[in-house]
C-alpha cells in the first residue's frame, strides 16, 4: 500500500527539517567553493603569467605591474596546470572518500563533517587568499594544498548522506533524497553568484568569502546538527520498506522535558520488536571496509556509478566547451545552456526517487532510466544547431543520466548502508556511501583524461559513443540486482493474488 500524503508528511518533526536543511547547505557550501575555483580560473591564470604584447613591441612598464609574475610563460600553460589541479583534486577526493566513510562510522559523524567543512575552508583560504597576499606562487605548494583539499572535502559527502539516512526512512527516501541531491546544483549557482560579486576586488576575495562562509557553515553544523534521531530520543528510520506510521509527536509544537520522556518510552516500545534479534553491544560496532565492500549490492552499484559518474562529470566539465566548439556559440551562451543539464538532473532525481518509493524497488527505475539515457545520448549527439531544441534534448539527457546518478549517490547509498543484512552492525552508512562515491569519483577522474584523449584522436562523435557504451556498462552492472528485484516483485504479486 503506498503511503498517503498526510501520513507521509506527518512522520517528520522540526528536527527532520533542520537536518535536511543543514546537510543540504553543508554540501551547497562545499560545492559553491568548488564552483568558485572554476569560475576564477581566468583571473588566477592572469595573476600567474606576464602580460603578452603582440610581435616586437616592448613589454609594458612598469615591470612589477605587468611582467613580474612568471609562474607560467603564458595563459595556455596556466590553463593546463589548472586542468591538472582538477584531476589531482578528483583523485585525492576519490581516495579520501574511501577513508572518510570508514572514519565517519567510527568517530562522531558531526565531528568528521565539521572537520571536513572547516578544514577545507582553511585550505582554500591558504590556497587562494594567503598565497596571493604573500605573493607566494609555487606549483608544488598549490598541488599539495589541492590534494589536502580533496581529502578534506571527501569527508563531507559520506557524512551528510549518513546523517540523512539516519533521519529519513527508506519509505520516503527516494523522494526526499531526490530533492536533497539538488544541493550540488544549488551550490554551483551560489558559487557562481558569490564569485562573480566579489571577483572585482581580486580573486583572493572570492576564495576568502567562500571559505569564510564555509567555515561559518561548519561552526553552525557543529552546534546545530543532530546526527541521529536517537540523540533526541526519537526512533531511528526504519530499515525496511513498509507502510508509514504516523508519529504523534509531530503534532506537538514544542518539546518539553515531559514530552521527551514520553517519547523515550514510546521509542522503547517501538524498538523492542526490532532489537530483540540483535545484541545491544553489537549494534554500535562499525563495519570494516572490506565487509562493507562485500555487502550485497555495494560492488555492482559502485561499478555502475563509476560508469555513470564518468558520463555525468564529463558533461559537467566538457559541455560548455563542446557547445562553443561544435556549434560556435559564445561562451556565455554555452554556460547558460549547460544549466539545463543540471535542471534535468534535479527533476530526474526527484521524480525517479518518488516513483521508486511507490514501487518499493529502485533497480527497475534505474535500468529503465539508463536505457532511455542511451537513446537521449544518441539524440543529443545528432542535435541540430538550434539552441531551443538542444536545450530540450539536454534537459532530457540530464533527466535520464543525472537522475539515476543522484539516486545512486544518495538514496541507494543510504539503502545499502542500512540494509537488512546489517542488523548486527548499524554503523555502515558512511563507509558504504564512501565506497560508492569513491569508486564513482575514480571513474570521473579517469573520464576527464579519456574524454580529452578520445576527442583529440577521434572527434566528438566518438566521445558520445564512449558515453553510450559507459551508460550501457552501468546497466550491465545492475542487471543482477534488477533480475533479483524483478523476481521478488513477481513473487509478491503472485502471493498477493493467491491471498485474494
Amino acid at each position: 500500500m503506498p503511503p498517503s500524503c498526510c501520513g507521509y508528511l506527518s512522520q517528520f518533526t522540526h528536527h527532520h527539517l533542520v537536518v535536511f536543511l543543514l546537510t543540504f547547505f553543508s554540501y551547497v557550501l562545499l560545492h559553491a567553493s568548488r564552483k568558485t575555483f572554476s569560475n576564477v580560473k581566468v583571473s588566477i591564470s592572469a595573476q600567474w603569467t606576464p602580460s603578452v604584447q603582440n610581435d616586437s613591441a616592448p613589454p609594458f612598464s612598469p615591470g612589477e605591474t605587468w611582467q613580474d609574475n612568471r609562474l607560467f610563460a603564458d595563459e595556455e600553460e596556466a590553463t593546463l596546470f589548472l586542468g591538472a589541479l582538477d584531476s589531482i583534486f578528483l583523485f585525492s577526493y576519490a581516495v579520501g572518500l574511501y577513508l572518510s566513510g570508514v572514519i565517519g562510522d567510527r568517530v562522531n559523524l558531526r565531528y568528521v563533517l565539521c572537520f571536513g567543512l572547516c578544514g577545507s575552508a582553511v585550505v582554500e583560504f591558504l590556497f587562494g587568499t594567503l598565497t596571493e597576499w604573500l605573493h607566494i606562487y609555487n606549483i608544488y605548494l598549490y598541488c599539495g594544498l589541492w590534494v589536502l583539499n580533496g581529502l578534506l572535502q571527501s569527508a563531507v559527502w559520506p557524512c551528510v548522506v549518513a546523517v540523512m539516512g539516519n533521519w529519513f526512512g527508506k519509505a520516503g527516501r527516494g523522494f526526499v533524497f531526490g530533492l536533497w541531491s539538488a544541493c550540488a546544483s544549488v551550490g554551483n549557482i551560489l558559487g557562481a553568484f558569490l564569485a562573480s560579486s566579489v571577483l572585482k576586488y581580486g580573486y583572493e576575495y572570492a576564495f576568502l568569502v567562500t571559505s569564510v562562509v564555509q567555515f561559518a557553515g561548519g561552526v553552525v553544523v557543529f552546534f546545530g546538527l543532530l546526527t541521529s534521531p536517537k540523540e533526541v530520543g526519537l526512533r531511528e528510520s526504519e530499515t525496511g520498506l513498509g507502510p508509514v506510521e504516523t508519529d504523534s509527536d509531530s503534532h506537538r509544537p514544542l518539546m518539553s522535558d515531559e514530552e521527551e520522556e514520553e517519547e523515550e518510552e514510546e521509542v522503547e516500545v517501538h524498538a523492542k520488536p526490532c532489537q530483540s534479534v540483535q545484541q545491544p553491544d553489537e549494534s554500535q560496532r562499525a563495519i570494516s571496509f572490506f565487509q562493507a565492500f562485500c555487502l550485497p549490492g555495494v560492488l555492482p552499484y559502485s561499478l555502475a556509478y563509476a560508469c555513470l559518474k564518468l558520463v555525468n562529470y564529463s558533461f559537467f566539465f566538457w559541455l560548455p566547451f563542446y557547445l562553443s566548439n561544435n556549434y560556435g556559440w559564445k561562451e556565455a551562451e554555452a554556460d547558460r545552456l549547460s544549466v539545463w543539464y543540471d535542471v534535468g538532473g534535479i527533476i530526474g532525481g526527484t521524480v525517479q526517487g518518488l516513483i521508486s518509493d511507490f514501487m518499493g524497488k529502485r533497480a527497475p527505475v534505474l535500468a529503465f532510466s539508463l536505457a532511455m539515457a542511451m537513446g537521449a545520448l544518441v539524440g543529443y549527439s545528432r542535435s541540430p544547431n538550434d539552441q531551443v531544441i538542444n536545450a530540450v534534448i539536454l534537459a532530457a539527457t540530464g533527466f535520464f543520466i543525472g537522475g539515476p546518478s543522484n539516486m545512486i549517490s544518495s538514496a541507494i547509498s543510504a539503502d545499502l548502508g542500512r540494509q537488512d543484512a546489517l542488523r548486527g552492525s548499524q554503523e555502515a552508512l558512511a563507509t558504504v556511501t564512501g565506497i560508492v562515491d569513491g569508486t564513482g569519483s575514480i571513474g570521473a577522474a579517469a573520464g576527464q583524461y579519456l574524454v580529452s584523449l578520445i576527442e583529440s584522436k577521434l572527434g566528438w562523435m566518438s566521445v558520445f559513443y564512449f558515453f553510450i557504451a559507459m551508460t550501457g556498462g552501468s546497466i550491465l552492472f545492475i542487471t543482477p540486482l534488477l533480475w533479483r528485484e524483478l523476481q521478488a516483485m513477481w513473487r509478491d504479486r503472485r502471493a498477493l493474488r493467491r491471498q485474494l
Binding site: Q47, S51, E64, T65, H135, K200, V232, G233
Partner: protein
Amino acid sequence: MTSIDKKKMIAVYSWKESVALILLFNISFNASDRLSGLQVCSLCGGKVPNGTAAGRFCSQSAGRIDGRCCLRNDSTSDPERIIGLDLSNCSLTRVENLQDASEALMIDLSLNPIVNISDDVFQGFFDLKCLILPKDIVCPGGNSSWQKVEIQKGNRLCEGQKNMCNQTGQMSLNCPENSLCAPYGPGFYECSCAENYHGYKCLREGTFPVLQVFGPLALSAVVITFLLWVTQRRKAKSL
C-alpha cells in the same frame, strides 16, 4: 680608462625583496642612499665646470655641485636629488647605469668615446629635458621621441622629451584594460592603473568592504548557531 662596470640594475624587485631593502635602508642611517648618489657623481674626477651647459644650468637653478652632479632639494624636508649630471670628457666607453640620476633634468655625456647607448639606460627618466651626447650617438628613443634634435659644437643635443602617449606613431601604445598611459623616459611609456584600479595587471577594483560583508555574515552565523543549539542540540544525548 673608466667605465661603468656596475651590474645593470633593473627595478625588478619582488615584494619581499623590496621590504628587505627598505628595512636595510632604514637601518643603515641613510648612508647607503648618499653613497649610491655619490657613485654616479664620482664616475670621473673633478667637478662640474662652471662654463659648461651643466654648470650654467646648475647655477641658474640654484643647485649645489657635488662632484659631477648638481644636487637640489625642492623643500628642506625632501632629500637632495640629482637634477643635473655632467659626465663630459670622462673617457666613458660604455654607459650602463645612471639610475641614481633618474630624476635629472639635464645630462651631459659629450666628449666621451661612447660606441653605443642602449635605450633602456634612460628608461624612467621622464624629467629629462636636455641630453647632450657625442655626435655619433642617436638620441635615445630615436628622433621621434624628442622635440628638437640638433648638432651643436660637435655634440648631439636632444631637447624636450615628447610624450609617447599622445603620439600616433609606429608603436602601438594602447595600454591594457584598466590602465592609463604615462610618459616614462625618452621613447618609453608606462601603463599605470586607472583610478580605482590596482594590483597586478590592474585587475583589482576598489577595496573589499570587509565590514559590510563579514559583519552581517558573522552576526547571522552567531544567531543561527544559537537558535539551532537551543532548538536542536541543547538536550542532545551523547551516543
